[in-house]
């Protein structure tokens, strides 16, 4: 389990706290959906969890122990962070795969290739990218590669920042299915931030709503729904309120 414990953070020079006093868990066997406006702090929170940023107050606990800089590389062996914010790795696709094979012991090249197909990117596209820089692919295709590479590492935790943004419906469903599959087998815990709720609402276990850096709602799906119809309607209502 990864625990965010009373974490606050602000970017340098800014008085307003980007993240204020947040408590959140990412637990194996469960999927948490993080929703909030652009600028609400979703991505900052995810970067704090991944260790790109250091909390000003509070801490991140990894399996009950405070996450430290010394442990970060071990931590990141278990935690995959996928975001649109940063290019995957600069350079050739084939170099990136070699790199992954080197640093992630559980990464399987064949599985990665299979997943890309499963998510809807044709092999021919890859052959194109093999010799070129990553720029040979669309942003959606690049995201699929990032997600596939993350899955192929068999991480214990997946932190996904807007993974569905540029994906077509086939890919969205395929990614959601695989997430759900691994979560149900207790192989993984996931935190997913997304605006696009339709494909994911049925399988989300916990919902965290962030607004201006604070968690304004955080509960399991049944409590969030509490007799109000179904989760996707409730979430759309929350988004309107935000």
């Amino acid at each position: 389990m990864i625990e965010v414990n009373g974490v606050s953070f602000s970017y340098k020079g800014k008085k307003v706290k980007q993240i204020e006093d947040i408590d959140l868990k990412v637990e194996t066997g469960y999927m948490t959906c993080l929703i909030g406006h652009n600028g609400s702090g979703k991505s900052t929170l995810m970067k704090l969890i991944y260790g790109c940023l250091v909390p000003a107050k509070g801490n991140i606990l990894w399996e009950k122990r405070k996450l430290t800089y010394k442990e970060l590389y071990k931590y990141r062996n278990e935690v995959a962070f996928v975001t649109n914010d940063a290019p995957w790795v600069s350079g050739k696709y084939s170099d990136t795969i070699d790199y992954y094979e080197t640093i992630y012991p559980d990464f399987k090249r064949e599985e990665f290739a299979g997943l890309i197909k499963r998510f809807g990117v044709a092999e021919e596209k890859l052959k194109l990218a093999r010799s070129n820089m990553m720029g040979g692919l669309s942003s959606g295709e690049e995201m699929i590669l990032k997600i596939a590479a993350a899955f192929a590492r068999h991480p214990k935790y997946m932190i996904l920042d807007e993974p569905f943004a540029n994906l077509d419906p086939v890919a969205k469903i395929a990614v959601t299915d695989l997430l759900h599959e691994r979560i149900l087998k207790n192989e993984m815990g996931a935190l997913v931030s997304t605006h696009l709720l339709d494909e994911i609402t049925d399988v989300v276990d916990y919902v965290a709503v962030i607004e201006k850096g604070r968690l304004v709602k955080y509960a399991d799906r049944e409590k969030i729904i509490a007799g109000e119809g179904d989760l996707s309607d409730v979430l759309k209502g929350i988004k309107k309120d935000l």
């Binding site: 066997g29 599959e181 007799g227 179904d230």
Partner: protein, 125 residues
């Protein structure tokens, strides 16, 4: 066990599951002592959250339809006959109540409603 759920329905999914499990038990298709699929297996089958299946099983356990053994999962209990028939009737009453509302809205009189029931009742045999 054949459970079918509708995710975009006004009836919460956990209730749909509970209704169908009760039916299976009442009909004898599920017998006392039968093992239920695990909470996670059921969630996988129905492509829903474990929170939902956990809720359904917890409610059914409270009712006496299922019992659980730590580490082994959920099993069909020996619910009493009266409890089962009460539960069956509650479902039927709910359906009838919804139908009655709709019929009134459509302008059906009580006599017409009764006639409809008579005809359908005879026909279904």
């Amino acid at each position: 066990m054949n459970i079918n759920i509708q995710t975009r329905s006004s009836k919460p999914i956990y209730e749909q599951i509970e209704d169908q499990v009760r039916e299976e038990i009442a009909s004898g298709r599920l017998k006392p002592g039968d093992a239920m699929p695990s909470i996670r297996a059921l969630a996988g089958e129905l492509k829903i959250s474990v929170i939902t299946t956990k809720r359904a099983y917890a409610d059914l356990e409270k009712e006496g339809m299922l019992y659980s053994t730590p580490g082994k999962g959920f099993f069909v209990d020996n619910p009493d006959e009266q409890l089962l028939s009460e539960k069956k009737n509650v479902g039927l009453e709910e359906k009838l109540s919804e139908w009655t509302k709709e019929a009134k809205r459509a302008g059906l009189s009580k006599v017409e409603a009764r006639d409809m029931l008579d005809i359908l009742w005879e026909a279904e045999d």
